[in-house]
Symmetry: C2
Subunit: 252 residues, 2 copies
């Protein structure tokens, strides 16, 4: 939607999402965080523009963090902040920012609410290692915090914990104008809809129109999705699209 | 797993995956293709090393295709090859390769098996546009083909159609040594497991060990996953890990 983005660029807040974990790339674990984070960011007025999945490898994490943090208003990461030897996200993010990383007394204090002193082992204290200059992101479930350094938000990979961290950090984020959307379901193949859709799309340059085909019970159909910043424009475009589809006997 | 990858690099076949679609980034559609493709590639001996999700924007698609095709043995793309105005994947891939793109008689012939001549409209013929030098990838469900150009495989976004295309192309791909894996479930927090796991991991440098925590019914646990090219090494590592966990009363 280049037209929409360019027109309102002063008000657009963008994000990149970095999913860190060998288990997603091997297929062992099906990611559940992309869809949740995408919906959440859209709802609060942040446009997710890029998602990457990388393995638990330092150079890959550093490259992705540095590329994305220079391109987008915010970068969110999930995964790799646990206590085991393969959890290298916090150290990699510190290296990306070229800052020190040490056990953070604020993080230790949070973890004391959950762990008795004898359970705050060396392995668990690894989770309290926070890059210099970062703010902590609260984790009401298991207490071990995430963190935010500059425009990079580092969260857990476990969906339920990632979700409470995302809630905790959201109120601190700058948000932009919300993208509004409307959807029209058509039970006809995209090939029949395409000319009508292209015509209506050409008449509403500030409304992005996408067609998302589905295939169900041997029949093709499509969800036509209209997205715009301006409600009046959006409603006018939806009305025009429905009228044209009806005219061509494509709306059942 | 840098050790594993370096040791057997002659035999490693790698892949990048590019998911193309605004609808994934807005959260409107939850991606189902990453996990399927990751599992499929792992099973046939191709290591997925990178996943990216980009919007339906030409420059973003071109950049991702060109970056990934130079880095990995294969690149797979999903989405954006339908008949509507927002389907720009085939044109973008042609631009990435700097080759022409035209309606391909082979693709038209395939589509004739499904569409009567009067239904092969201009919009549908858009789907027969194939970059010069590409081979077609068969689509037994709806006939409209995907294609493979050099090391880039372009597939549909609808999961059922992507899956038959992936099956159709798999026999034509070079595959490498398969990564083998074993899994041990531990119903204890990762913080208790970490020292044991780190010790065993240090003793088996050719076996990658990952810990994937879960949080269920208020309790923490972890799946410990061992991955290696060599079955004897893998089994020895799993045996050693189970023995050490038992010794520390961590295997219930």
């Amino acid at each position: 939607m280049p037209d929409v983005v360019q027109k309102a660029s002063e008000e657009i807040v963008t994000a990149g999402l970095l999913i860190i974990g060998d288990e997603i790339l091997s297929g062992r674990t099906a990611d559940k965080n992309i869809a949740y984070i995408a919906s959440h960011l859209t709802a609060i007025g942040i446009q997710l523009q890029d998602v990457r999945v990388v393995p638990d490898e330092e150079d890959r994490i550093i490259e992705a963090v540095n590329t994305m943090r220079s391109r987008y208003s915010y970068v969110f990461t999930t995964g790799g902040i646990g206590p085991t030897h393969d959890d290298i996200t916090a150290d990699s993010v510190a290296k990306a920012f070229q800052v020190a990383i040490e056990v953070d007394p604020r993080a230790v204090a949070m973890m004391r609410e959950r762990y008795a002193p004898e359970r705050l082992t060396e392995a668990r204290l690894r989770m309290a290692r926070i890059p210099e200059g970062a703010d902590l992101v609260d984790n009401p479930i298991s207490r071990t915090p995430g963190f935010m350094i500059d425009n990079v938000v580092v969260m857990a990979g476990i969906p339920s914990i990632m979700q409470v961290m995302l809630d905790a950090v959201s109120s601190k984020l700058r948000t932009g104008k919300k993208m509004l959307s409307a959807s029209v379901q058509v039970n006809a193949p995209e090939g029949d809809i395409a000319p009508v859709l292209a015509d209506v799309a050409a008449s509403f340059p500030d409304v992005a129109m996408g067609s998302y085909p589905f295939f169900k019970d041997g029949r093709m159909g499509a969800h036509l999705v209209l997205r715009a910043m301006d409600l009046v424009e959006l409603e006018a475009a939806e009305k025009a699209l429905r009228a044209e589809l009806t005219e061509h006997n494509l709306l059942s």
